[in-house]
């Protein structure tokens, strides 16, 4: 009854669709490029700045949102409320489109924004220009704020769900044996959360690395993230710029692919360890 080819037939349409779209996209970008184009891009100072900046922004956003999200999940566990209202509220940032969040960050953190007005009322500043630049700034604070608003609740929700699955017992055992709350969090729950955090770290990093709208709208004029740089070269009518755009896109794809492979092999290691742990008496 069950033919061995059944899963392959079921998966075929999706596999075909994705390999075609990705293949055509990547194929068109890499064809017509020579080593000369790549070298020209790699030798360019702007590109190196872009690359370092993009990776740094993604790394910082990933670190902060995962630490913050895990901490929030612990807090929810500690408060012992799995209430529906918390879930609904945490879902709001996840659903909010990042374009809308960008508008809000503008409104709150610009030099004439809500926060600047608040500091004026409190007497810290006399003039909007004295408020620190948090939008279009060189350190990408505005960009980061959008990522954190969307990602901390996302990480918290995923972690909370898997912590709830783990149950209180492990933590209670730890506490009975005299562990401090900090030790319970870092020695008991954190190792159990590792596979979950690896997945959320991958997703948050990939998003912050590849996002377009947010750095496009909130970024500094001094440097651009790689996707924005590639796009601005893509719409340039100069054929040489187009070739540079394609070369940057190929480099971006290579980085993403590398990340995916590292993740999948890391996941295999973690799940292997977990299985062997489970077999212990």
């Amino acid at each position: 009854m069950k033919a061995a080819s059944k899963p392959y037939l079921l998966a075929a349409p999706l596999v075909l669709f994705l390999t075609l779209t990705f293949g055509l996209s990547f194929g068109y970008e890499i064809s017509g490029l020579t080593l000369r184009h790549f070298l020209a891009v790699l030798w360019n100072r702007d590109f190196v700045v872009s690359l370092v900046a993009t990776l740094s922004v993604a790394a910082v956003a990933t670190l902060v949102s995962n630490v913050g999200g895990a901490a929030l999940a612990f807090a929810m566990l500690k408060a012992r409320v799995g209430g529906e209202w918390v879930r609904h509220i945490l879902q709001l940032p996840v659903i909010m489109p990042h374009l809308v969040v960008t508008v809000v960050v503008f409104h709150i953190f610009a030099q004439t924004g809500v926060l600047a007005r608040l500091t004026w009322w409190l007497g810290f500043i006399d003039d909007p220009n004295q408020f620190p630049l948090m939008v279009f700034d060189h350190f990408a604070i505005g960009i980061m704020l959008v990522y954190l608003y969307k990602q901390i609740p996302f990480v918290a929700m995923v972690c909370f769900d898997s912590l709830r699955g783990i149950s209180h017992r492990f933590g209670d055992v730890g506490e009975n044996l005299g562990a401090t709350p900090w030790q319970v969090a870092t020695r008991v729950y954190l190792p159990l959360l590792k596979p979950t955090l690896m997945a959320t770290a991958l997703i948050t990093f990939a998003f912050a690395f590849g996002a377009f709208e947010v750095p496009f709208l909130l970024g500094t004029p001094l440097w651009r993230t790689l996707p924005v740089e590639a796009y601005l070269l893509h719409i340039n009518i100069d054929p040489d710029a187009q070739a540079r755009s394609m070369a940057i896109n190929v480099i971006i794809s290579a980085i993403s692919l590398g990340l995916a492979l590292v993740y999948s092999s890391a996941l295999r290691v973690v799940s292997h360890v977990r299985h062997s742990d489970g077999e212990r008496p």
Partner: protein, 267 residues
């Protein structure tokens, strides 16, 4: 012990306020008429420019196109993902991990990068500037989420229900419509919701492939953010959020109507 609980509550409440306040500030901004610098609240409220923008024909066009694209993307995504997620969720076969990794790729590779590459191809075959072209690109980026959701649902469901129905003499079509579909319906609704929201919030993919021929709500919104016209941007943002919410509530209502509550798989 009690102290830890208090800290937990404090952190949670702070987070909750931080989550909700942006939406509130957006609503205040949309209704403000005058709001010069040091004032914390607008000195004048009005619904005038809200009404003016809501009645503009460009907004009507953008909302219609956005909804059309999102609906088509949802249907295309579910059709492609349903069988593949079933394969990954129910059967173990060589290449299952590779399939999962492939379905994750659209999350990994930046949308702008994939779209720029596809743009060259779509110009060549005449798909650039068409609805079909945009739906294809939106579908690529909706796939990972829908796939993940449906795969888990199939994993939970297992194979037994289908086998039992087949054993009792139901044909493949009967098994699908009377057993499989009702059982995975909650997952289908969740997957449809994600696909819809993802298509609805696309900007750069629509902009590149649509080439200015297709006007959606995000395309209408972005120039106003660039121009610093936050009033207009806030109104469009609210339209953006509430259209998506309304469409999703409607979608859920329709599904519930066809599949009564009792059919739903309880997690």
């Amino acid at each position: 012990m009690k102290w830890g609980r208090a800290v937990g509550h404090f952190v949670m409440w702070t987070a909750a306020v931080a989550c909700v306040s942006p939406l509130l500030s957006l609503i205040v901004l949309a209704f403000s008429a005058q709001w010069p610098f040091p004032h914390l609240v607008p000195s004048l409220f009005t619904a005038d420019h809200l009404a003016k923008l809501l009645l503009s024909p460009r907004l009507g066009e953008a909302v219609t196109t956005s909804l059309e694209l999102a609906l088509l993307t949802t249907v295309a995504t579910l059709l492609l993902v349903f069988p593949a997620a079933k394969a990954a969720g129910l059967y173990s076969f060589r290449g299952r991990e590779a399939l999962k990794l492939l379905a994750l790729m659209p999350v990994m590779v930046p949308a702008a990068t994939v779209t720029m590459g596809l743009h060259y191809f779509m110009i060549r075959v005449g798909l650039a500037g068409t609805m079909l072209g945009v739906v294809i690109v939106h579908t690529v980026f909706a796939v990972p989420y829908a796939f993940r959701i449906l795969m888990y649902v199939f994993e939970i469901m297992g194979e037994q229900h289908e086998e039992q129905a087949a054993m009792l003499g139901a044909g493949p079509l009967m098994v699908f419509s009377a057993v499989t579909l009702p059982l995975v319906m909650p997952g289908m609704v969740a997957a449809a919701t994600m696909s819809f929201v993802i298509s609805f919030s696309q900007y750069i993919t629509t902009f590149i492939i649509g080439g200015g021929r297709l006007l959606t709500v995000p395309l209408l919104l972005v120039p106003h953010v660039q121009g610093g016209e936050l009033h207009v941007a806030s109104v469009y943002s609210l339209v953006f959020i509430f259209t998506a919410l309304a469409a999703l509530v409607l979608l859920r209502a329709v599904v519930r109507h066809y599949y009564r509550e009792t059919y739903f798989l309880n997690p």
